[in-house]
């Protein structure tokens, strides 16, 4: 780094006269900024988990967690989401190796698993509501639908984002912008899986056990 100043030689440098060109994009601050957004998203889920924790036994004479939850179905859904995490990881690996086709294929597979997850969750919700376990039935069910529904909504937005990325990678290949977006989408997708660990453990498993 050659940096000069008009003044005498023993005086320290006050201004960098020649600089790196930032256009290369290698030092983009975006991933850190997006990470901090994800941390704030984690706080939203923390408040929803706290609410659920407080209201988890407020059944108001309605159905209890143990009566309602269908663990094999939840296990299936958990598997869908976990597999979608590893398929997204494969998409990222192909991205770093510059394989555009591989990225698109793995993205599409990830989206299929994500769709399956949302589909199963909607089936579960409709099934519960058909049994009379609606959000209005008890504080426990309000908290349950808010927490699990917010996670499901995040996955849905992730699916829309994957769709957009499929189009954009198709249009422009693995450009600097698209690599950055795929990195951010990956962090988003993996964080949803982390949140799901909390959901299946503290809502479904503990609900069925305790």
């Amino acid at each position: 780094m050659s940096a000069t100043s008009a003044a005498t030689s023993d005086e320290p440098t006050f201004y960098l006269m020649e600089e790196d060109d930032h256009a290369g994009g290698h030092s983009s601050p975006t991933p850190l900024g997006f990470w901090i957004y994800l941390m704030s998203d984690a706080l939203i889920f923390a408040t929803l988990f706290a609410t659920y924790g407080v209201l988890a036994t407020a059944y108001a004479g309605g159905p209890t967690a143990r009566e309602l939850f269908d663990l094999p179905l939840v296990a299936l859904n958990t598997a869908f989401l976990l597999v979608s995490s590893i398929t997204y990881g494969m998409a990222m690996m192909d991205m770093h190796e510059g394989k555009t086709g591989g990225v698109r294929a793995w993205l599409a597979i990830t989206a299929l698993f994500g769709l399956a997850f949302v589909g199963v969750e909607l089936y579960e919700f409709s099934h519960l509501m058909a049994e009379g376990a609606t959000p209005q039935r008890s504080a426990f069910l309000s908290a349950f639908y808010t927490l699990v529904g917010t996670h499901g909504l995040h996955v849905t937005f992730g699916l829309i984002w994957i769709g957009v990325m499929l189009v954009q990678v198709g249009q422009r290949g693995l450009s600097v912008e698209n690599r950055r977006r795929l990195t951010c989408l990956g962090m988003f997708w993996h964080l949803l899986d982390v949140v799901w660990i909390g959901v299946f453990t503290f809502v479904y498993l503990l609900g069925a056990v305790l």
Partner: protein, 122 residues
């Protein structure tokens, strides 16, 4: 930004892992998911113990996902990723444990102890 930071941009880039680390993470995550589901569905252990084991496994799995899928380590983004994660974890713990603790005490102090007798007829 000093001249030093400019000359070593690589040190600030996010780590992106490898196929191998993804597969290790996936295997660990699969095991850590399978055990709690099996414990809860089979009921081999007593309820309270199952709850404790399941909770501990969930915390371990969160760490596994954070390390192997989200690639958080001390070097990523010059340590800022880890720092923000630690801060968030502190707030998450405060919010969840604080709410549960307060509401547990409130419940103990403010809820009627026994079914109340019906109000006298007016």
């Amino acid at each position: 930004m000093t001249a030093h930071d400019h000359s070593h941009p690589v040190a600030h880039e996010a780590d992106h892992g490898s196929r191998r680390s993804y597969l290790i993470g996936f295997l660990l995550a699969a095991v850590l998911t399978a055990i709690p589901f099996w414990l809860a569905m089979s009921g081999v252990l007593e309820g309270r113990i199952t709850a404790i084991v399941v909770t501990v496994l969930a915390l371990v799995q969160i760490v596994v996902h954070t390390v192997f899928f989200l690639h958080v380590n001390t070097r990523s983004e010059g340590g800022w990723t880890l720092l923000t994660l630690v801060f968030t974890a502190i707030i998450v713990v405060i919010v969840i444990l604080g709410s549960l603790w307060i509401m547990y005490h409130l419940h103990g102090n403010m809820m009627p102890m026994a079914p109340q007798p019906p109000p006298p007829p007016a």
